[in-house]
Amino acid sequence: MTVFGLRLPGMSSLILWALLWEVVGRSGLTFFIPPISEVFLTLFGIIGTPAFTKALTETGYAFIGGVAASIVIGIPVGILIGKNRLLDEMILPWVNIFLSAPLTALVPVLMVLFGFGMTSIVITTTLFAIWIIILNTRAGVMQINRSMVEMARSFGAKPLEAFFKIYFWAALPEILGGVRIGVIRAVKGVIIGQLLISIVGFGALFELYSSNFLMSHFWAVLIVLFGMAFSISEFLAYLERRVAYYAAKR
């Protein structure tokens, strides 16, 4: 963004929005929106408190667990169905169904199957993240240049070597795109899991603050969450740009 010929750093427009928020907050229009300065003061107040640390670790644990499972299972499955017609025809319909399904409705079933604890939350997170990773990896593998695969074979690559040295790297731009969207969905999954399955982590904090009308606390936690999700997504977008130079030239 440039103002009066001055180049401003990215997202400077957020300052304007923050000002607007402050004005609305100070005008006392609604208790629902406290001034943003107050929200930030609360934020610095609650960061470091045991309740916050506990929420952060619980959420982080479920989130990392779910994302790791999605990546570790999703990428190989995506590569396999991208390479194998039969597997593709068997698995792809399910991937598409789950990708568009309202997964929140499945959470009660998970509670019955896996109990009211961490396992269910991790599985919910995985269910939110994994399908797009599979689908994107598959798309990445399917556009691999045939001659690249033949090249590897002609030089005697064993299947596992081809998997790691050709398929993974050739599909990496799409894989990273899938992981980025998957991670954003995982944030949704972990919070929904925490709210519906057992009231723990940030889910518990939301519940606590909103039922007690602690609006600045509520917004503070929300900002932390939005900020974290956004940073992770930006980091992955940065990795994506790092491999973009070859995405167009495969």
């Binding site: 074979r153 002609s154 005697g156 790297w169 491999v243 070859y246």
Partner: protein
Amino acid sequence: MHQTNRSFDHLQEIVPPSAVSVRNVSKRYNDVEALRDLSLEFPRGQLTSLLGPSGCGKTTLLKIIAGLIKANSGDVEVNGVKVEGPGPDRAFVFQDFALLPWANVLRNVAFGLELRGVAKSEREAIAEKYIRNVGLTGFERSYPHELSGGMRQRVGLARALAVDAQVLLLDEPFSAVDEQNRRKFQEDMLALVQNEKKTFIFVTHSIEEAVYVSDQIAVLLPRPSRVSEVIRPTSFRNKDAVNIRRDPEYLDIIDRIWASLRNYVE
């Protein structure tokens, strides 16, 4: 069948033993019959061109020799051993280069050796040598997208040379290269055949190119493909680059091949 050139029949030519023998190979893709009962010998240490109308099965034949696809019947022998799949005795140069876009020139050239389990320092030393041979010194750390088409094909060539296979299979290696580079490449090819003592099997669309670089030219018929004639130029092979293109036999052979292929060009 003209096994030798008509005007030089009196010369008793010594044809080296075959490095690659293709015997009665047939290949069909579903309802397309690409090759029918094709037999051809590839003399050791020489360059044989496969020339024929588009879609006649040249790439198919090359990939069968490479072991990348299986023939429906017939067999291929390399140095007397039946081909069952890809092997270290053959290396392929791809029409579209097939370089790894995420790896630099050095790793690309060394990639064949990497897949064969050669240690990093050793394979990089070998790769350096072939990078020098194809004239890419100074570009070791460049990535394929930073190179021109001609340079990329040199990388593909260096990669195939680096594994030191006895048989090099080249599928229209110069078709994505501009005319000036192409001429330079053709001259380099001649030098390469002289120096490397390898058997080259070379697919091209260009009659001039085939006659210019080949010890033996196999003209293929349209699908289902068989060999229509094998021509072995005799008089100009040892001349230098400039004189080949003026040699009467060179011009003669070009006319003759064109005469037999023109029927198949719409």
